[in-house]
């Protein structure tokens, strides 16, 4: 039986892992390689490295650190941030990333998803979606979320985009629920359930993890394939081995490292 995945997300800026509150006030967390190995040893099933400045500053990730991480890691990892062309994707994948995640560039030019899936296969094309509930009750997508002052609202409904991204060849969908992100009050179960109902590829929940119970809840109630978190892992509030033990005790298939 396929296990549910626990994914640790590391924000990368200028070749270092940083921590900020809602993308502000960044603090240096350490070298990328050190943190990658720490999470691998703790039993993370997968890592996502997110270049938080890439999309807003119109530059793509530099691939040297991707190669260093790939040589070091023996678990899969995904790279996100500023990948807006087949050429950039190729550089990142050939440097050793197992998957690439695209967000703002896919919203600006949806055909990019088709191009990447056609060139590299759906299995390495992840579409990340930042989503927020509007005053009329609809969930809609946001772009350029790396910089709060640059974030843009779109008319596109989140559920429509989930369907379209799959039709275009996305092999995995990550939904970051901005309303619950950073608050540690739990994942947005209602939204993730709605996404799950239209998502036939693996679905990753993001935004809101504050306790082990939140992971149990989102897996059991929204049937997500994976749950992603950042700050609760970085701060030590949740230790991954303990999280895996709690998931297992709740009857959820997990890999013990």
């Amino acid at each position: 039986m396929l296990s549910r995945r626990i994914i640790a997300c590391l924000d990368v800026r200028d070749g270092r892992v940083v921590k900020g509150i809602r993308f502000r006030d960044h603090r240096d967390m350490g070298a990328i390689e050190d943190l990658a190995l720490r999470y691998r040893n703790a039993g993370a099933d997968e890592l996502v490295f997110y270049d938080i400045t890439a999309s807003t500053q119109v530059r793509a990730v530099d691939v040297d650190w991707v190669r260093r991480v790939s040589d070091l890691l023996d678990i899969p990892f995904c790279v996100a941030g500023g990948i807006d062309s087949v050429e950039r994707a190729r550089a990142v994948l050939h440097a050793g990333a197992d998957k690439i995640s695209i967000n703002t560039p896919a919203l600006l030019r949806p055909h990019l998803v088709n191009e990447l899936a056609g060139e590299f296969g759906s299995q390495c094309v992840v579409v990340g979606i930042d989503s927020l509930r509007d005053a009329d009750g609809e969930w809609r997508v946001r772009s350029h979320t790396g910089d709060p002052s640059a974030t843009q609202a779109h008319a596109r409904r989140t559920l429509d985009w989930v369907v379209e991204a799959q039709q275009r060849g996305a092999g995995e969908i990550v939904v970051n629920c901005m309303g619950s992100d950073g608050v540690r009050g739990g994942y947005d179960i209602a939204q993730l359930r709605a996404v799950r109902a239209v998502c036939e590829v693996p679905l990753v929940a993001s935004g809101g993890a504050g306790s082990c119970a939140h992971f149990v809840e989102v897996i059991q109630q929204a049937d997500v394939d994976a749950a992603l978190a950042a700050s609760v892992f970085h701060s030590g509030a949740i230790a991954i081995p303990r999280l895996k033990t709690v998931l297992y005790a709740n009857g959820i298939a997990v890999r013990h490292a």
């Binding site: 995945r5 997968e46 995995e172 890999r255």
Partner: protein, 200 residues
């Protein structure tokens, strides 16, 4: 240590497969030169993406015939395993035909999503030195939508909707549908076993 060549038939995971062997203290050569490939003591054929470009590259390099005939230990990973078989449904591609059987799209069902992506359990179906130190029900990392469902050469099996081959072996050939280079300690052990393997 005998020489190890990773065959460059395209695909993006060449570097991560090479790094996995380097972590074991082995320095493989990545090559598309038929002479270098023919001179190797052991061969690895990685592959991600789809079967068609991998087969096209092997034919363009002129090594498809050599791979069918060699008696050297040969490890195919993911698509590199799939092309060991006779045919793939993905793009209706003729494979190397070293192993009997066909590659088919995995069936979807309620709660069974494709791609089959993540860590899944292995069940041993065979006794082999390739499985030394690998315990039943250990987890390996998979990412694929096509697989080999009925093979007489299944060495490890996994289940996603239904059972299919996680690894196969016959004669001098071994194939892994999972990614040993991304399967943590289990993957490292599997690769070490391959390096020490003396097919009979």
């Amino acid at each position: 240590m005998s020489s190890l060549v990773i065959i460059d038939a395209g695909g993006a995971n060449l570097g991560s497969v090479r790094a996995a062997f380097q972590r074991l203290g082995v320095e493989p050569e990545v090559s598309r030169d038929p002479a270098r490939i023919a001179a190797a003591d052991r061969l690895v054929l990685p592959g991600v993406g789809a079967a068609a470009p991998v087969m096209a590259n092997l034919r363009a390099l002129g090594i498809d015939g050599f791979l069918r005939e060699t008696r050297k230990p040969l490890l195919g990973i993911c698509i590199g395993m799939q092309v060991l078989f006779e045919r793939s449904d993905e793009g209706d591609v003729q494979g190397l035909g070293i192993l009997r059987g066909e590659v088919r799209r995995l069936p979807m069902a309620e709660g069974i999503r494709l791609p089959h992506m993540g860590w899944n359990r292995l069940r041993k179906c065979m006794v082999s030195p390739l499985l030394d130190g690998i315990t039943d029900a250990a987890y390996a990392y998979f990412v694929h939508s096509y697989g080999v469902i009925d093979s007489a050469n299944t060495m490890l099996e996994t289940r996603h909707g239904r059972a299919f081959a996680a690894a196969v072996t016959h004669g001098n050939v071994v194939g892994a549908q999972f990614h040993p280079e991304r399967s943590s300690a289990l993957g490292a052990r599997f690769l070490r076993n391959f390096l020490e393997w003396q097919p009979t």
